[in-house]
Symmetry: C2
Subunit: 423 residues, 2 copies
């Protein structure tokens, strides 16, 4: 069916990468703006990211979100409501981009949005390039998301603040738990972050509650020195008796070996046991720290830290929503090959503006913690880091509870639509 | 200094056993009632339970809590504000009870309160017996506390509801995280409870959020059958693709071996690795479940579940406060050798009354989940269980936040007092 110039088009949104508790706030903003736009007919969603899109697993979101409560609930629902995928488009992806374009045209999609991290931005970047070269009137815009906070050009990423709030809160709480017995005790909190230590650094905010914890913070940006670790733990336990150590999952020694991979443990089936960095440090303390009666406990925050919508930062949810909302505004105004970014104007009072970054400058890059923000020989973070982090975790979550438990919005992901149903 | 009959006496409170996020609500209630009573002069606290008491580590709480905000903050501070101990009074403890009595008299204490679980109630019981036999005019009253919910005579225990709320909330959240990728996936959530499965059962409340998780629930009250586990996981993953398993740390096979102890893994120093029950189940699935591409993840809720004041149940905090408050009321009215209990009058609307239980009937006993409340061959819990659990997790926590992070009350535990300072 041929359309006149200016005829409304469909928009499609998909999600990719690892979960966060704010990723659905971003699509909520995009969906809301899309449903209100005269340039957009239907808001479509692909299930399981690009992988599902290629299988034409496409639902009509405009048909599934009816009440304002649906929108409120979606904002507070953790993990990809549209599901995710680990699918990476092959380097020589011309054929794939051709297939993507074919499906986009089949469904009369004029605006394509991908909500994810570095890899996802690479996909949008390549797709936008392809569409432009092919002369297609389809825009492709990225919406940032990652608890790792490692995207370039943006002050911080949607999802980071909520995970940071959970990490800081949990660090404070488990430190208090660590202190209750007279025996000397070390708790090691393992935080996500393979290459970038932003989220682990957020544990330092626990000190804002008036506690002295964490006492040691290890980020993957600095080579980990086991001997120095033993010296520091011994010194601090002798001085403070109860200490908390925050550690990134990705810490590694100078030779590049990840701590999490060094465990030679083999289970009853002969499989190598993946201990995790904290478990390795626990073993190291048990072996090397000679303090009578010392108790050591490793805690992996695991997927709890990225799914804990009940501890989300309302600042983060609001910003995540805005990134989705503004991506749609930009796209209907003809922008393509960009990602919405957040620029910080002021720390106190906390003020940001939204901007647009070229995907070429974002895709496949990783923003790490600056060396100057890591202090005390790689065992702590600077005041600049705390000033940077503080506004991101603020704001109580206004959860929508029922009998004390959360409520979620869920799409009917089986209810896929055919192209002619959305023409 | 001799006192006339009716002269106010000091009261002393101490805490013992494992932490919870509501234990300080109980001492807040006791302190508030004590400070308001004309029969009580000073509210004293022993640091590190009976162990610290025997070392005369006694602080004057009346001097340290000044504002209503102090009381509000203490209610919301997790883990023992007065610290705990693992000290158990020896069976033949006459000598110890003599020493305790001597310190009680030295500090002119007329009312002794111990806030803890089964072991702590045994201590109070023996002390109360000793005091009565010795003709001392000192009462000893127990204030219940345990996230395990395993105390007899009380419908449930202070601290349980908050931990249950955290477990149910986290179960729902990590299940959503489990679902995001197309690959089949199993998440195994390990919950505290060595002999009683109450807290693990609370994961079933995640279904009240509209989710199908958890799919399997294993309590220590039922012998664990590894073969049946493999059959059930295989069946459910083939049917549902993504599943959540909730498991008590204390599950064991019919021969009495704890799953958590069966790991033959040895680390790089030749130490046995304590895997935890969930980690053992993860290994079992990796070895025995033959489903292509299946991903398995074990998550230990560790001390997070008992320290998560940010996810406390306000019903639990209010009840915990009441138990402390009423313990003091009972004591000043001459009651001794009792523990405050909660009796449930009605599920919907939820109504309780507070009562007193004889310590002889509580000490050293463990209330387990009734067999009739465990269903589906030991893989689920009944509707009676859900009806029992629901009111306990209700109520949003009214945290006292500063910049999005919790605030805590902390005693100056070093500021101990001598007997003549509180005469």
């Amino acid at each position: 069916m041929a359309k006149a110039k200016g005829t409304p088009k469909n928009m499609l949104i998909a999600q990719s990468g690892g979960p966060s508790s704010a990723i659905n706030a971003s699509i909520t903003g995009a969906i809301a703006r899309g449903m209100a736009s005269t340039k957009i007919r239907n808001v479509l969603g692909a299930v399981n990211g690009m992988q599902g899109f290629l299988d034409r697993k496409i639902i009509n979101i405009s048909d599934q979100m009816k009440t304002s409560e649906d929108f409120d609930l979606l904002i507070h629902t953790p993990a990809h409501a549209l599901r995710s995928s680990r699918y990476k488009i092959p380097k020589e992806g011309k054929e794939i981009y051709g297939k993507i374009t074919e499906i986009l045209k089949d469904y009369d999609i004029g605006y394509f949005f991908y909500n994810g991290g570095n890899d996802s931005m690479d996909t949008v970047n390549k797709l936008a390039d392809f569409l432009r070269e092919a002369g297609e009137d389809i825009t492709a815009v990225g919406i940032p998301k990652t608890i790792d906070n490692d995207l370039e050009l943006t002050d911080h990423t949607p999802g980071f603040g909520s995970a940071a709030r959970y990490v800081a809160t949990s660090a404070a709480e488990v430190y208090l738990d660590t202190c209750v017995y007279p025996a000397p005790a070390v708790t090691i909190l393992e935080v996500m972050g393979r290459n970038a230590g932003w989220l682990t650094a957020a544990a330092a905010l626990a000190r804002d509650t008036g506690l002295p914890a964490p006492h040691l913070i290890y980020l993957p940006e600095v080579d980990f020195d086991p001997d120095n670790f033993i010296v520091e733990v011994t010194r601090l336990v002798e001085k403070e008796r109860h200490i908390l150590v925050a550690v990134s999952e990705g810490i590694h020694t100078a030779d590049g070996n990840y701590l999490a991979d060094t465990g030679a443990a083999v289970d009853m089936f002969g499989h190598k046991t993946l201990g995790g960095a904290a478990t390795e440090l626990e073993k190291l303390i048990k072996e090397k720290v000679k303090i009578d009666g010392i108790k050591t406990r490793a805690i992996q925050l695991s997927t709890l830290q990225r799914a804990a919508a009940h501890c989300a930062s309302s600042v983060d949810l609001a910003e995540s929503y805005q990134c989705g909302y503004r991506a749609v505004e930009a796209a209907v105004n003809g922008k393509t090959d960009i990602m919405i970014t957040i620029a910080r104007i002021s720390d106190v009072p906390y003020v940001v503006r939204y901007d647009e970054g070229k995907l070429d400058d974002i895709a496949n890059k990783e923003k790490k913690v600056p060396a100057g923000w890591i202090t005390k020989g790689g065992t702590d973070v600077s005041e600049e880091m705390l000033t940077y982090l503080r506004p991101l975790v603020t704001g109580e979550t206004s959860e929508l509870l029922k009998n004390g438990l959360p409520r979620f919005f869920q799409f009917d992901l089986e209810k896929t639509v055919m192209p002619w149903e959305v023409k």
